[in-house]
Amino acid sequence: MKKYFNYLIRSVLFLSITGLVISCSEDEVNPDLPSDQEAYTVALQVLGSNDEAADYLVQTETLSEGTITSEGQGLEQTGWRYFAQVDKSVFSIGYFDDNNCIGYQLDENGDLVEYGRFVFEKTLDCMLPADNNTLLAFEVPRTGITQRVLHVIDAESVSLDRKVETDIYKPEGDTLPKWPTGMVVKGDKLFVSFYPVSPSGDFSTPSVDTAQVAVFSYPELEFEQVISDTRTSPIGVYGNATGLLEAENGDLYTYSSSSLAGGFTKQTKPSGILRIKNGTTAFDPNYFLNIEEATGGGKIVYFSYAGSGKAVARVVTDDSVLWGAFSPSNPICKLVIIDLNAATVTDVTDVPLHGAQYATPALVENGKVYMSITTATDAHIYEIDPETATAVKGAEIDGLEAKGIFNLN
C-alpha cells in the first residue's frame, strides 16, 4: 500500500512542481469605432488568391483624392462577395460556400454596422433593387436545364420574402437554359434580360442570333411574354447585372456584347444597343446603335446610366481571348460616353485602357459618374463628366479593384 501512496505523492508533487496551468480564454472585446463624417462606402477587393483574397467595406470622405485603403480599417468580409445597394443599405452577398447575405447601414454616428443577415441555398447572381425596400436576386444553376430561383429580399428585415422558380423563358423544344443579366421594375412589370447558355456547364453559348428580354408581372412575378430582336445578339454578360438600364423618360436600353472577351463563344451579330420605348413591351424597330460601327470594331461589355440620356460604357478593343474582359489587370477596355438619344459614342480619352471586372460599380452623383478603373499597374476611382466626355483621376484604390461605390446617406 505504501508503494501506491508513494506513487501518488510523487505524481502530485511532480504535477505541482511543473506548475501545470490550465488557462481560460479571454472574452471578446468590441469597442466603439471612431466616428467621423465619411460620406462614401467603397467595397474593396484586396490582392491575393484563393482564400487569401478578401473584400472590405471601407468608409471614405472623398472619392476625388488620396488613397482608399483597407489597411487597418474597414469591415472584413469572409470571402469574395457581391455588393448591392437598396436605398440606404448595402448588402454583401457571399459566393457558393460562403452562402449568406449581410445587410449594413450607417448608425447614428455615421459608422457602417451590420443590421441583419440571412442564408441562401447555393449562390445568388444578378442582384438589383426593385424598390426602396426590395432587392431582387437570381439563383442560377450552373448546369442542366433547371429552373432559376428569383429571390425577393426584404431589405428592412434582411430576410427572404419569397422565392419564385422560373425558366425565365423556355419555349417548346428549347434546350438552352437562360442566364439573367439585368432587371428593371417599371410599374407593374419586371423586365429581365438574359442570354441562352449551354446546359453542359461549360458556359458556351450555342445560340447568339437574338436579343431577348422577358417580361413578368410585378409584384406577382408571373411570366407574361418575351420580346425579341434579331438585329443583335443576346443581352448582357456574365457576372454583371447591367444588361438593362432605364432613362428618366422611362425608356429602357439594352446592350448586346457579341464578344468573345465577354464570354460568348460564338459571334454572329454586331455588338449594339437596343431600346424599349416607355409604355411599350417591344424593341423599338427604329432604334439600333451598332457599337462596332460607332467605335471602329469595339464591343460593349458594360454600361451604366449617367443621367440626361447619357450612359457610361466599357468597350472591348481586343476581342481575341475568351473571358478576357473579366480580368481587371488585362487592359483591353476603353471607356466611352453614349448619347442614347442621338445614338452617338464619344471616347473618354482621359481614362486609360483598363480591365473589366465582375460586378462593376458606378456611383452617379451631381451629374458625375464615379467608377473603378484598374490598369495593369494601378487602380483608381475616376470622376467622369458625361456631358463633356472627360474624366479626372481621383482617389487611388489600394487593392485589386472597387466592387462597389455607395453613398448611404
Binding site: Y7, R10, F14, L15, T18, L20, I22, S25, V29, N30, V46, L47, G48, S49, N50, D51, E52, A54, Y56, T69, S70, E71, G72, G74, L75, E76, T78, D97, D98, N99, N100, C101, R117, F118, V119, K122, P141, R142, T143, G144, T146, Q147, S159, D161, E165, P199, S200, G201, D202, F203, G239, G263, W323, A325, F326, S329, A376, T377, D378, A379
Partner: protein, 794 residues
C-alpha cells in the same frame, strides 16, 4: 495513339525492370546466424533501449522496451559484444557464435555517474539514429504508444514544427503542414513507398498506431531514398518489422459510437526464411458530436437562436487489409516480399467549408487495391553493395455522391427542393467517380566505399492515369478524357564521416523529370492533345558535427521542387482550364539545429532546437477567369522560424516535455502581375504561427503484480489566435480570426502479464473546450475512449 512521351516512359520502365532483374539472381553465401539476449540492471529489471554492438563488425541493435535484443547475419566465430546505455557503465562480453545457430546471452549493466558512451550511430535505437542524422527530422517512437488510443496525426501534431489541422472528428479531412508548407508540398510514405492514389482510405488519421514502429518527418530537406518532389518535407512511417513471430490485436470503444479494431501478425520460419505478415484495421464512428449552430428558417433564410445540436450525417467507416508473404534472410535476398493492400472507406459529409449549409446525404467512398513487391539485399555479390527496390500498382476508385433533393437543417429535418436536378453540395446531382491507376517503381543502391563513405543512388518512377465518369451527368464530366502524368525522380548522394566520425556530411543531387499528356475536347467539339515535358535539377546538403559526447549541431539545405499535378496543368476538361506553361513550385529550404542532453544523478535533460528558413516561389494557385478558372504560378512565400523542445526525465520514470514553434510565414510577392501588392510582406493569413505542446507523464513497474506496468500521461496543446485574412487589412477590432486554442488530453494505461494484456483509458478535450482548426468549423468536444490490446511474441 502513343506519342513520344509514351514511348519514352516505356523505355524508362523497361530499364528499371532490367535493373531489378539483374539483381535478383545474384547469390552470395551467408549462413543464418544470430545472437539474441536480454539486458537487465542490477535489480534484475529489464533495461529498455540499450545499445548493443559487436565491436569488430560494427553490427548493432537496440534492445526493445523489455530489454530484449537480437543481431542477425553474424559471421561465425569469436566476437566482443558491447552493451551501452546513458547512465550506465559499458559492459563488454566475449561470445562464441556458432554457424547457423542462435547464441543466447544475458547482460547486466551497472549504473554510472559518468557517461562513457562513445559517439556512434550503430547500436542506437532507430529513433535515436534517425534523430542523429544530419537532416532536420522529427523521429517519433510510435512503438511506445502501442497501448495508447492516439492516432498518428495526434502523435505527430505534438512534435515541433508540425501542424495538423482537422476539420472534424474521426476520418475528417485534414491538412498536414511542415514548417508552414502543406498540401501537396508534403509527401507521405509508408516504408519508403509513396502514398499516391490511396485517397483517404489509407491515411494518417486512420492508420492505428499498433501497425507502426516509428515515424520520421523530414523537414524541408529530404534524403534521396525518399524519391519524390517534396517541396516542404516528407513523412515516412515505418511499419513494425521483426524476425520474431508476433500477434497484436486491439479494440477500442469510445464516445460518438467510435469503434476501432487493429490486427497485426507476423510469422517467420528461421529454418527456411519463409515469412508472412498480416495487418488489418477497421474504424467506425458516428461522429455525432454536438456543435453550437443556428437552425435556419427555410422561408426567410434567417438564423434561429444558437443551440447545441449533434452532427447527424458524419458517420465514418474505414477498413484495410494488408497481406504480404515472402522470404527473409535468404542468400539471394535479405527480404523478398509480395503483398497486397485492400482498403476502403465510406465517409458521410456533414457540411462544406461553411456550417451554414448542412448536408444530410452527401458522402464519399474510396476503394483501393494495391499489389506490391519489395526486395532488399545487402552485400550483393560485393561487400558493401546494398540494393533495394519496390514495384507497386495502385488502383484507386474515388466516388463523390450528391444525389439528394432534400435540404436539411441542423435538426436533421428537411424540405424537398422542387428542382430534381440540383444536389445538396453542388449545382448538379452527381455520382462522380474518378479512377487513378498508378504504377510506382523504385530502385536504390548503396555502395559503402569504406566505413566512412558511402554513395546512394535512387530512382523512383511513377505514372498516374486519371479518368472520371458520372452516370448521372448528361453532359461532359470532369476528367472524362483520361490524363496521364509521369514523374521520374533520380537521386544521387554521397555521405562521408570525418574526424573519428565526429563530422558527417551528405551531398546530394536530384533530377526531376516530368511529362504529361491529356486530351481535351472544347465547346466546339475540337480535340486538343496537350503534352508537357520538362526537367528540373535540385540539390542539397546536410552536415552534422558532434561537439561533445551528447551534443550535436546540424545544418541542412535543399533546393526543392514540387511538380504540378495533372489537373493543375491540364484542368479537368470542364471549367478548370489547362495551363501548359505552369511551372513547378520551388523552394530553397535551410535548417540549422542542435541536439544536446545532460545527465546528472537522477536528472536527465534532453533538448533540441532548430532554426528554419524556406524561400518558396511560384506557388500554384487557382485563379478565376470569367466562369472558368485555371492554375497559375502566383505567390512567393518566405517562411522562417524557430522550434524547440526540452524534455526532462526524473528517475527514468517521470517525464515532462515542452515544445514550441514560432513560424513567420510572409507574403514575398511584391508584384501581382504588374500591380504592386498592398499585402507584400504581410503574414500569410489562415496559417497558425505560434503553437506548442506540453506533455507530462510517468510509468511505474510492478504496481499490482510482477511484470505489470502503469502509465499516465497528460498533454496540452496551445495554438495562438490567428487571422483568417491578411493581418494588415481591415479594422483590427472587426477581423475574423480562428481563436486561441487550448486543448488538454489525458490518458492512463495499464499492462500486465509481461505486456500481453493492455488497457488504456483516454479523455480528449478534457475541458470540453470549443476547438477549431479551421474558421468556424467546430471540432468534437470532450470524448472518452477505452482500448484493450493483446500482444504475444516468440
Amino acid at each position: 495513339m502513343m506519342g513520344v512521351v509514351g514511348k519514352k516512359v516505356i523505355e524508362k520502365w523497361i530499364a528499371m525492370l532490367l535493373f531489378l532483374l539483374c539483381f535478383l539472381p545474384a547469390i552470395s553465401q551467408n549462413a543464418q546466424t544470430k545472437i539474441e539476449g536480454t539486458i537487465v540492471d542490477e535489480q534484475n529489471q529489464p533495461l529498455p533501449f540499450v545499445s548493443v554492438l559487436i565491436e569488430d563488425t560494427q553490427k548493432g541493435a537496440a534492445a526493445d522496451e523489455n530489454g530484449y535484443f537480437f543481431i542477425e547475419n553474424i559471421t561465425p566465430g569469436n566476437h566482443l559484444l558491447k552493451a551501452s546505455s546513458l547512465g550506465y557503465q559499458n559492459e563488454t562480453i566475449a561470445i562464441d557464435v556458432a554457424a547457423g545457430r542462435t547464441t543466447k546471452v544475458s547482460i547486466v549493466l551497472r549504473e554510472s555517474s559518468v557517461d562513457l558512451q562513445e559517439v556512434t550511430v550503430a547500436g542506437k535505437s532507430k529513433v535515436r539514429q534517425a534523430k542523429e542524422t544530419a537532416y532536420a527530422i522529427n523521429s517519433v517512437n510510435v512503438k511506445s504508444l502501442h497501448n495508447s488510443n492516439q492516432d498518428l496525426n495526434l502523435v505527430l501534431n505534438k512534435t515541433t514544427g508540425l501542424m495538423v489541422r482537422e476539420e472534424g472528428g474521426l476520418g475528417s479531412g485534414f491538412d498536414f503542414a511542415i514548417n508552414g508548407l502543406s498540401g501537396k508540398q508534403v509527401k507521405f510514405f509508408i516504408d519508403g513507398i509513396p502514398l499516391i492514389s490511396t485517397g483517404t482510405s489509407l491515411t494518417f488519421n486512420n492508420i492505428p498506431v499498433n501497425l507502426i514502429d516509428r515515424a520520421e518527418v523530414y523537414k524541408g530537406v529530404v534524403p534521396v531514398n525518399l524519391g519524390s518532389d517534396a517541396l516542404g518535407g516528407a513523412v515516412n512511417i515505418i511499419t513494425k518489422q521483426s524476425v520474431k513471430k508476433f500477434f497484436d490485436a486491439s479494440y477500442s470503444v469510445g464516445s460518438f459510437n467510435t469503434h476501432r479494431l487493429a490486427l497485426n501478425g507476423h510469422y517467420f520460419n528461421e529454418k527456411n526464411g519463409l515469412t508472412f505478415n498480416a495487418r488489418a484495421f477497421y474504424n467506425y464512428s458516428d461522429n455525432d458530436y454536438k456543435v453550437e449552430v443556428s437552425v435556419v428558417n427555410p422561408e426567410t433564410g434567417t438564423y434561429g437562436e444558437p443551440e447545441k445540436l449533434p452532427h447527424f450525417h458524419d458517420a465514418y467507416e474505414s477498413k484495410m487489409v494488408q497481406f504480404e508473404g515472402g522470404f527473409l534472410q535468404k542468400s539471394w535476398a535479405d527480404m523478398f516480399l509480395l503483398g497486397i493492400i485492400l482498403s476502403g472507406n465510406h465517409n458521410e459529409i456533414q457540411h462544406g467549408v461553411s456550417m451554414d449549409r448542412p448536408y444530410g446525404e452527401v458522402f464519399r467512398e474510396d476503394d483501393v487495391l494495391s499489389p506490391f513487391l519489395k526486395y532488399k539485399k545487402d552485400d550483393l555479390g560485393v561487400e558493401g553493395l546494398d540494393v533495394k527496390g519496390y514495384l507497386s500498382y495502385t488502383d484507386g476508385q474515388f466516388l463523390v455522391a450528391d444525389t439528394s433533393s432534400r435540404r436539411y437543417n441542423w435538426r436533421g429535418e428537411y424540405v424537398i427542393n422542387n428542382d430534381e436536378n440540383i444536389g445538396e453540395a453542388s449545382w448538379q446531382k452527381s455520382l462522380f467517380r474518378f479512377n487513378d491507376k498508378t504504377v510506382i517503381g523504385n530502385a536504390g543502391i548503396r555502395y559503402q566505399l569504406n566505413p566512412q563513405n558511402h554513395i546512394d543512388f535512387n530512382l523512383t518512377l511513377s505514372s498516374v492515369n486519371r479518368q472520371g465518369s458520372d452516370p448521372l451527368s448528361r453532359y461532359e464530366t470532369a476528367f472524362s478524357q483520361p490524363n496521364t502524368l509521369n514523374k521520374s525522380v533520380y537521386g544521387l548522394s554521397w555521405s562521408g564521416k570525418f574526424f573519428r566520425n565526429k563530422l558527417s556530411t551528405t551531398l546530394f543531387v536530384k533530377l526531376y523529370d516530368f511529362n504529361s499528356e491529356m486530351s481535351d475536347v472544347d465547346w466546339d467539339g475540337e480535340r486538343t492533345i496537350y503534352t508537357s515535358d520538362y526537367n528540373n535539377a535540385g540539390y542539397g546538403t546536410a552536415i552534422t558535427w558532434f561537439f561533445s559526447k551528447t551534443g550535436q549541431l546540424k545544418a541542412s539545405l535543399e533546393n526543392a521542387y514540387r511538380l504540378p499535378e495533372g489537373y493543375e496543368m491540364f484542368g479537368d476538361g470542364l471549367n478548370l482550364l489547362s495551363n501548359p506553361n505552369l511551372q513547378p513550385e520551388k523552394s530553397l529550404n535551410a535548417n540549422l539545429g542542435f541536439l544536446w542532453s545532460y545527465r546528472t544523478g537522477v536528472h536527465f535533460i534532453e533538448t533540441e532546437g532548430n532554426l528554419f528558413y524556406r524561400n518558396a516561389k511560384d506557388f500554384i494557385r487557382n485563379q478565376a477567369e470569367g466562369a472558368t478558372s485555371t492554375y497559375v504560378n502566383q505567390r512567393d512565400v518566405l517562411s522562417s522560424g524557430v522550434e524547440s523542445e526540452v524534455r526532462y526525465t526524473w528517475r527514468q520514470n517521470y517525464f515532462i516535455s515542452l515544445n514550441g514553434t514560432y513560424q513567420n510565414i510572409i507574403n514575398n510577392t511584391e508584384y501581382e502581375g504588374q500591380r504592386k501588392s498592398g499585402v507584400y510582406r504581410d503574414r500569410i493569413p489562415n496559417i497558425p504561427y505560434l503553437f506548442g505542446n506540453l506533455s507530462i507523464g510517468a510509468w511505474y513497474q510492478d504496481v499490482f503484480s510482477n511484470a505489470d506496468k502503469f502509465t499516465w500521461q497528460f498533454n496540452s496543446r496551445f495554438v495562438e489566435e490567428y487571422f483568417l485574412k491578411w493581418p494588415s487589412q481591415g479594422d483590427p477590432e472587426n477581423k475574423y480570426t480562428i481563436p486561441q486554442q487550448i486543448a488538454h488530453n489525458a490518458e492512463v494505461t495499464y499492462s500486465f502479464g509481461g505486456g500481453k494484456y493492455n488497457l488504456a483509458f483516454e479523455c480528449r478535450n478534457l475541458l470540453d473546450a470549443k476547438l477549431y482548426d479551421h474558421f468556424r468549423l467546430q471540432k468534437p468536444g470532450r470524448s472518452f475512449n477505452l482500448k484493450i490490446r493483446y500482444y504475444i511474441e516468440k
